[in-house]
């Protein structure tokens, strides 16, 4: 009979299996690390996005809050093409909302108008406003007299300083109809 012992000899297989296992585990380990690094990066991105969103959002609210400072005579008298100006004709204003010493957002404001020609100094986003009449009767549900009052509409665009997230709100203010 033939000698079949060679087949029964299992010397050396352990190492092969170990190697295979090692390779598998290494691949698994590496991929796990990679995944978690990406997860961290995703989380970081999300954090940035959310932070930017809130910074931009805060910029809008800040602009509403300080409306008395920007709603100057030029802004009130020029229905067409009025953009945010402070004392030195600035199209935009960087604001440090949380007062930590670094600016959080930049605000740009212009009148919402029926002929919304872009203003060169403003960002595309700030120029991208709905095409509507600037002065209109008080809107539905506002509870203001149609006889005595009118509203003027403004587009407020805030850009977060870090990531350039832009949030725009439409706001109106009630005035006497003279």
């Amino acid at each position: 009979m033939k000698d079949n012992t060679r087949i029964g000899n299992e010397d050396g297989s352990v190492i092969v299996l170990s190697m295979v296992l090692l390779v598998l585990l290494t691949i698994l380990g590496i991929s796990a690390t990679r995944t978690s690094t990406i997860e961290v990066q995703i989380a970081s991105n999300e954090r940035h996005a959310v932070q930017n969103l809130y910074q931009a959002e805060a910029g809008d609210h800040f602009a509403l809050e300080i409306s008395k400072t920007w709603m100057t005579n030029t802004f009130l008298t020029t229905a067409e093409n009025a953009a945010y100006v402070d004392s030195s004709v600035n199209p935009s204003l960087a604001v440090d909302i949380d007062s930590d010493g670094t600016d959080d957002a930049t605000i740009e404001i212009r009148c919402i108008e029926a002929t919304g020609n872009p203003i060169a100094v403003l960002s595309d986003g700030a120029n991208d406003l709905p095409v509507q009449q600037h002065i209109v009767p008080p809107p539905v549900g506002s509870g203001y007299s149609l006889k005595s009052f009118e509203v003027r509409r403004y587009g407020i665009t805030a850009t977060s300083t870090n990531g350039g997230t832009q949030i725009q709100i439409g706001a109106y203010k009630v005035f006497n109809k003279f």
Binding site: A49, L53, A56, L64, S67, K68, N73, L76, T77, G125, D128, P130, Q133, V136, P137, P138, P139, V140, G141, S142, G143, Y144, S145, L146, K147, S148, F149, R152, R153, Y154, T157, G164, T165, Q166, I167, Q168, I169, G170, A171, Y172, K173, V174, F175, N176, F178
Partner: protein, 1031 residues
């Protein structure tokens, strides 16, 4: 039989007076003299023994040396800070003998009625404070043999008491010895006889400190009838009272009547000393448990004064002026509900900021004197300030800012009227400033009103050179008019449209104005009427501004593109439309409408009835190159007039609208004229400017109602009116009829006259497409031109009378807000022309209107929810749910005005979801007065301000102190009583809501002042969309 006759006579009287009822009947017509209490605080401090006052009276034959020109005349001018300004170079230039003689004899003249150099110094004009240069030198130089201060003061005050009648003088001095340096005591009570007063003054000696604030506080306790702080039952200082508060003297208040005025004159030669008593700062220690402390918040207390002096004097003066010292006189909500005291101060041989502050806070004035004649002049001046008691009525207007034409500006213009016995009522327009918080400020920068809105007695309005307070007959454009040398008065005679054309001059020299023009018989009468209108020989010229209002228009007079001047247009019942110059208050011109020429003689006919002339509200249409003034006459006539006022000083006559205007027009386009049913009534409409569509394009129009039919003045009016049944629009440029002309000539639902119309643009395209109006029969008409083709659909939308047959008159057009279903309109009912009527229970309505929903029949109250009981707040849980459901399912809500005879007397304005309006409630119980002379002069009845949630009729603010609970027993802060609050007496003006740079404010004219309310709006801007532009 006799009784029958008497009864018939009485009935006839009642009926005849009812026939001409108007809202003027509720205003008191008399000025009455009630002797005021004047308490003189005589400084008896040790320094008064100083011998440094010229004891000699001013001698006109002596020439005193000094910086003033001896024979020149000087006027005390408070234009820009007070100073003595040259009035005339030489006394011999004066052409008013009375004033000239006074100056020649005494060296001074207070309230001298003399015109200035422009008018060649003739008699007349506003009251001026004048001094001869020689007198000024005398008072400043201290010439002559010196006397002691106390002997001079004694002599002067004795003389004043001796010379003045109809004043209840009282006398007070400081407590004097070293142990009792606390405050002062009453030497003679107010009303003491002259001999006692003079004897008491003779016994004064100079000794002790100067506790100014303590003594003034003690004076207040006396006037209020409270317990003394320092004095015992013996009348003078008592250490037990001072230290423990027991055994203190109980004062009896000298106040007799609620409209009596109370004055304190504080004459002192020194600064405050020994004036720091702890009671001055103790909480709740003063009258009505009030606290003095730093009452005026000037932060100056206690200040740096030697010998324990303090700065509390101005705080005490402020307290005594701003608080009710005697709440037992005058009840809340009535006239003269507040009994206060005015403090005047005289610095004798001293100049002190504290004395000036005390006078400013105390509603009085501050004088200085350095001589016996100077002190006499100061006292006489104060005596001349003590005016008769009278009531004034006002309506405020805040015009647009000249700077940006968007915000309301920082000035407030107030139209005044004051009833007069002779039927020729006085009027005025005064201007005040508004600070960044909307507070009303006078020309000196001090607050012009007290917290309840009353104009301060010592407020100085713009244009005025001295304090004028709420007095109609002082300051304002009326005061300037008195001094004006000549007036430009125009009418329109039909031949030349330029009013400055000589044919249109309302003057003696214009031969076109004949006796028949003025409907008089002789040329002397013609001249008399013309001179009378110009103001010759009249002590007050400007007629009452009753239902008219000032309208302020800004001009670019130099054509450089920026607005540089403003002019004020207002109609008066003195016969004309006026144009005043805003910068100096002078009258630029006056225009007498041609239909009033024959009526002008009524002003001087000697009867006591009040005549109306240009009583309508003016409206101004403006474009960049044209301005048109348009106005009616209200009860004064039936016409409207349009003037071109593009150039302010060359007005041009444009057109007029007379009552037959619509008769020949074809409103329904059926090819035939609408006929006499389209006749207009009295020109009551306050038109508004709109752009509306026509069949061929668009027109700029004045939108107006048909006017008032005096059928409605009858006790029981005829079932329908014959005039004023129309709603129409005319082109502003030429007065031609535009596309809206609905009238009774073809629309038979229009049965009653219509005096006010509202229109607005509901879709924001710039063209008015919705119009609403209410009539005297209680119906609301609605019109719509949504498709912009110039044809208006119409509906009789609502009837306030249909459900019970009671006639509820609508005098003011509805207000409206935009809702998702269409618009919601708001209006009230009430007979403005008969405010004392009490049989009708009036309403305030809020009704939804949708033009898309099918309209089958006129709505009535049964389509609405009665929210009078406010169950949505005050009900049980179930009731609240039911009330909400009922509101949601009905066409709106209404409130029954539950006070007897209460009526809505102003238009409604909805602001920030709150419905604001004012109402009038007649005095209940007939108001006989029971020996109270004050009823002759006060306005009657109560004025209320309402603030309601526009969706539910709930209270919008917490206006009432009354505690209310809901059906479950829980306390509610905004219950039924919080819907309104009493803001004064008589008829208040409509709430004027002004969006100022600092935020919105509400101003309401009330008797004697301007109530100021905060609408409580949180956000300056509202947001209406949100979007993220990029990631």
């Amino acid at each position: 039989m006799k009784r029958c006759l008497l009864l018939a006579f009485a009935m006839a009287l009642i009926l005849s007076s009812q026939l001409w009822a108007d809202d003027t009947e509720i205003f008191g017509t008399a000025s009455i003299s009630i002797a005021p209490n004047v308490l003189i605080i005589f400084d008896t401090s040790g320094s008064m023994s100083t011998v440094d006052v010229p004891g000699e009276y001013y001698d006109p034959n002596t020439t005193y040396s000094g910086s003033y020109t001896t024979n020149a005349v000087y006027e005390y001018d408070c234009g820009w800070g007070c100073s003595w300004e040259l009035f005339a170079n030489d006394i011999n230039d004066l052409n008013c003998p009375a004033v000239k003689t006074a100056l020649q004899t005494y060296g001074y003249a207070n309230n001298a009625e003399i015109k200035d150099s422009d008018s060649n110094y003739v008699c007349g004009g506003s009251g001026k404070t004048l001094r001869l240069g020689n007198f000024r030198n005398y008072d400043e130089s201290g010439a002559g043999t010196p006397s002691s201060r106390i002997s001079v003061a004694k002599e002067v005050i004795k003389q004043i008491i001796n010379d003045t009648d109809n004043v209840r003088f009282g006398l007070m001095r400081f407590n004097n010895n070293s142990g009792d340096d606390q405050g002062g005591y009453i030497v003679q009570v107010c009303g003491a006889d002259k001999t006692s007063l003079i004897n008491a003054i003779d016994n004064f000696t100079a000794d002790g400190y100067t506790p100014l604030a303590e003594t003034l506080a003690e004076a207040g306790l006396y006037l209020a009838g409270k317990k003394s702080w320092y004095n015992g039952s013996g009348g003078t200082y008592d250490s037990t009272c001072d230290s423990s508060g027991s055994g203190c003297l109980q004062y009896t208040s000298p106040m007799q009547y609620r409209c009596q005025k109370n004055y304190i004159i504080l004459m002192t030669d020194g600064a405050s000393t020994q004036d720091k008593d702890s009671k001055l700062t103790a909480t709740g220690a003063y009258i009505n448990n009030g606290t003095i402390g730093d009452y005026d918040n000037d932060g100056n207390d206690t200040g740096s004064y030697s010998s324990d002096g303090s700065d509390y004097l101005d705080d005490v003066a402020g307290y005594l002026y701003e608080n009710d010292l005697n709440s037992s006189l005058g009840t809340s909500g009535g006239s003269f509900e507040r009994q206060n005291a005015l403090t005047y101060t005289i610095g004798f041989q001293t100049q002190q900021q504290l004395l000036q502050d005390a006078a400013i806070n105390g509603g009085g004035n501050y004088y200085t004197a350095g001589s016996i004649s100077g002190l006499t002049a100061a006292f006489e001046h104060i005596m001349s300030d003590i005016a008769d008691v009278n009531a004034v009525f006002v309506s405020p207007v805040v015009p647009v800012s000249r700077m940006n034409r968007t915000y309301a500006g920082s000035s407030l213009y107030v139209g005044f009227f004051k009833p007069q016995n002779d039927g020729r009522w006085a009027g005025n327009i005064k201007k005040y400033g508004l600070d960044s918080d909307g507070n009303i400020m006078d020309a000196t920068g001090n607050a012009a009103t007290l917290s309840n809105g009353t104009i301060k007695d010592n407020a100085r309005s713009y244009w005025s050179t001295s304090t004028d307070g709420p007095d109609v007959l002082l300051g304002g454009v009326g005061g300037i008019l008195l001094d004006q040398a000549s007036r430009n008065l125009y009418t329109y005679m039909g031949s030349a449209s330029a009013l400055i054309d000589s044919t249109n001059a309302f003057s003696i020299s214009n031969t076109q104005i004949t006796t028949s023009t003025l409907d008089v018989s002789t040329s002397a009468q013609r001249d008399d009427v013309i001179n009378d209108i110009h103001g010759a020989g009249r002590s007050w010229i400007l007629g009452d501004i009753l239902h008219s209002k000032p309208s302020v228009v800004h001009y670019d007079t130099d054509g450089n593109g920026s607005l540089d001047a403003s002019f004020i247009f207002a109609g008066s019942n003195g016969g004309m439309m006026h144009c005043f110059i805003d910068s100096n208050g002078r009258e630029e011109w006056g225009f007498i409408p041609p239909d009033q020429l024959t009526r002008l003689k009524l002003l001087s006919d000697g009867t006591t009835d009040h005549d109306y002339f240009v009583d309508g509200v003016p409206v101004v249409y403006e474009t960049t190159n044209q301005k048109i003034l348009f106005f009616g006459e209200r009860r004064g006539g039936n016409n409207y007039y349009a003037l071109d006022i593009t150039t302010y000083n060359t007005p041009t006559y444009l057109y007029s609208i007379d009552p037959t205007f619509l008769v020949s027009k074809d409103g329904d386009g059926n090819g035939s004229a609408d006929g006499v049913s389209a006749t207009l009534g009295q020109s009551w409409s306050a038109p508004t400017t709109h752009k509306i569509k026509t069949s061929s394009g668009s027109d700029t129009v004045f939108l107006m109602g048909g006017g008032y039919d005096n059928n409605q003045d009858q006790d029981v009016p005829n079932a329908s009116d014959s005039e004023g049944r129309a709603v129409f629009a005319i082109k502003v440029s030429d007065g031609a009829i535009s596309s809206l002309n609905v009238n009774a000539g073809y629309y038979t639902d229009m049965t009653h006259s219509i005096v006010d119309v509202a229109g607005f643009d509901s879709n924001g395209n710039g063209y008015t497409n919705r119009v609403y109006a209410g009539d005297m029969g209680g119906s609301i008409f609605a019109f719509e031109d949504d498709d912009g083709d110039g044809t208006w659909s119409k509906r009789k939308f609502f009837s306030a009378s249909a459900h019970d047959g009671v006639q509820r008159k609508i005098f003011y057009s509805p207000d409206a807000v935009e809702e998702h279903f269409g618009e919601m309109i708001f209006f009230g009912t009430g007979d403005r022309a008969d405010p004392e009527e009490t049989t009708v229970v009036n309403r305030i309505y809020a009704i939804k209107n949708s033009w898309e929903d099918p309209f089958t029949s006129t709505l009535t109250e049964s389509d609405l929810t009665d929210v009078t009981d406010n169950l949505i707040v005050l009900g049980t849980e179930t009731q609240r749910t039911e009330a909400r459901a009922a509101l949601a399912n009905s066409k709106g809500w209404y409130i029954r005005l539950e006070n007897l005879g209460e009526k809505v007397t102003s238009g409604i304005t909805v602001f920030n979801g709150v419905v604001y309006f004012t109402s009038y409630t007649p005095e209940s119980g007939g108001g006989g007065g029971g020996g109270d002379p004050c009823v002759l002069v006060s306005g009657r009845g109560q004025a209320r301000l309402y603030a309601l949630n526009y969706k539910t009729g709930e209270a919008a603010h917490d206006y009432s102190d009354i505690t209310e609970t809901d059906g479950e027993g829980n306390e509610v802060t905004q219950g039924k009583h919080d819907r309104s609050k009493v803001i004064g007496t008589s008829i208040a003006s409509a709430p004027s809501i002004a969006v100022l740079e600092g935020g919105p404010e509400i101003y309401i004219g009330v008797e004697g002042g301007i109530a100021h309310e905060d609408p409580n709006v949180k956000a300056a801007l509202n947001t209406y969309y949100w979007r993220q532009i990029n990631d």
